[in-house]
Symmetry: C3
Subunit: 260 residues, 3 copies
């Protein structure tokens, strides 16, 4: 099983070409698109998508990530094992979430050029390097065969919420397809404030009452809930909360305990 996460969108045949390369090497591979809708060069967004998703796949799955503004330059190529899954892609921080969530990580610098495709250009490592390496790993090639182990891989500073006494200062990290504003505040962060029923969530200048499901606040304006990724999410039933509240990635969301 191989998953693909890219910023290639759905217009160009790039993803299809990667699948062709994989199936030529490993005809029995099962390939799943995680998403190709990462914003161009959205490394941080891809890191979060991978961190939220990898665990839902069977152990041993090979996850390929191609969000790669540095393609063709000196930036390294990585293949790594974390949490019982394999990951292949550029060494630019796209694996930050899966690495930091795993107690033990084995990362290798991919230099085994005999695995690569010959190519007229240096702009598409997804097809020419990462796809064939993933196919070989999924077929059973040991991770040690792709190149030497490294430990100085790139980790991005993913924004963590700040705890200030009875307040949590979080931020919007993603706006999903429904216009929900997902924050970096987790269920654990919220629980750390004590009694949930007294928590107030402030987002985009509005107070968004805490709910358990979307329809709970129907007709009563925006709300907030812990979503199925375990994150605090600001929503507006039947509408797009981010637009309605003017919330964008990076905007502050404040959680205040008690009567605050």
């Amino acid at each position: 099983l191989i998953t693909l996460t890219t910023d290639f969108g759905s217009i160009d045949p790039f993803v299809g070409q990667m699948k062709g390369v994989i199936l030529r090497i490993h005809p029995d591979a099962v390939i799943v698109d995680l998403t190709h809708g990462i914003r161009p060069q959205g490394i941080r967004e891809a890191a979060i998508a991978l961190g939220d998703s990898a665990g839902y796949f069977p152990p041993g799955t090979v996850h390929v990530a191609v969000v790669d503004p540095g393609v063709g330059s000196g930036r390294r190529r990585l293949a790594l094992e974390a949490g019982g899954h394999l990951f292949v892609g550029p060494d630019n921080g796209v694996f930050t979430s899966v690495i930091t969530a795993s107690p033990r990580v084995r990362a290798h610098h991919v230099v085994a050029e005999q695995l690569f495709l010959e190519s007229p250009g240096r702009t598409f490592d997804g097809r020419d390097v990462f796809a064939p390496v993933a196919a070989h790993l999924d077929k059973g090639l040991p991770l040690t065969e792709v190149g030497p182990e490294v430990t100085d891989y790139v980790l991005l500073p993913l924004p963590r919420p700040l705890r200030e006494g009875g307040r949590i200062r979080g931020e919007v990290i993603h706006v999903d397809a429904f216009g929900n504003a997902i924050t970096n505040v987790t269920a654990e962060d919220l629980a750390s404030l004590g009694e949930e029923q007294n928590v107030r969530v402030l987002a985009g200048g509005a107070e968004t009452p805490l709910a358990e499901y979307y329809a709970q606040t129907e007709g009563r304006g925006p709300g907030a809930l812990i979503n199925s990724a375990g994150r605090l999410e600001v929503f507006l039933f039947g509408a797009r909360a981010a637009e309605a509240l003017g919330l964008r990635v990076g905007d502050e969301v404040l959680v205040v305990a008690g009567e605050g």
Copy 2:
């Protein structure tokens, strides 16, 4: 074989997570995307897409539909058998077309929580409930094992065309990717008016001559034809009829017999 129909779009990794869950339970499952481009909360649109499409898949296919504004609330979860196919999703009318087209339906209220995934939130039954239930059904779990049979499932009032003497008053039910305006008037409705050659179709203030294929009216303005779903469709060769004629979902399309 499992198909997926959702309003998740292509930006988020939600669909990918559902596939991971299915493949973890049932590694040999073949998964096909029917569409993830249903408008947010477009239950009616999904009902029509499923009704038009399920029959093209092999008998026994499990169709999962996740257009689910009521997720996490008290709305029921359904698994049902209709027309030799299985369907899994919320009890909100999304299966209206497949149910009404089938002489015999066995519907069960999905309550077998041991099949569900544990989740930090209640916002993603697609991943936490419907995907695992579909995987188990595709693997052979009898429908009776998911919960008790029910007969009071939700059916939506899908708009039917009105027959008024020699006229049919239909409406636009979908605008497709090419800008064609699909109506709820069927080939049978049209045939019921008698001689087809004398039928006039009025849509968006224009008379759209009846054709058999798009290129037939090239350079001569909009036309209408019976499409491959058996529905009357208003088109404009090489252009977007809906925009050109100002047609939107719900707008009237009139079919008049004879010299009208």
Copy 3:
């Protein structure tokens, strides 16, 4: 293995229906989406996508192309073998690139109606004709069984760059998801000018220095490089070159040798 290339987009269930038809005939078929993001009626764009991509798939792959404004009219249906791959679709030039790149082509007029699906309309050969024919070919049906051989298939005049002494007059043939402007000038064209280091590329009124990878010109405006399809491509690191330079499909890109 069967690939699909269409202009169906991701809103409608058309692609899903084609997959259902294929899997009903050939349950073991592996189906890969090449792209469904071809612009409506973009035959030329599909021809280029197929030409760039088919070779990355295993020999014997069946490639289905459905960009088909003439569907339902008298335009022919083709199945052909070129370069060790099979192709199925309308005879409108969509196979121009794969045909012209292949020394030997066997093309057949698809008339074996017993392979087709019955349909209420004539608007969806993708589902009713090309999908079942592709499924049967992938299952082993000889090409000769679909209909008589033909040699007068449609070829589109794909724009070739003009060589004028020390200059190459090319044009933009595609703008990709990143806003890169892909031209019809190839690495071979460029090499024919002699020493690459002295080549100047002029696009959208700007001189775009030749680079080897995107990040090479970071902070220094647009550049040009030979991409992984072997084509000259105008880019702007971290931004959309086509928008920044006002480049559209058909616009001229000039390559000048020496001091020019």
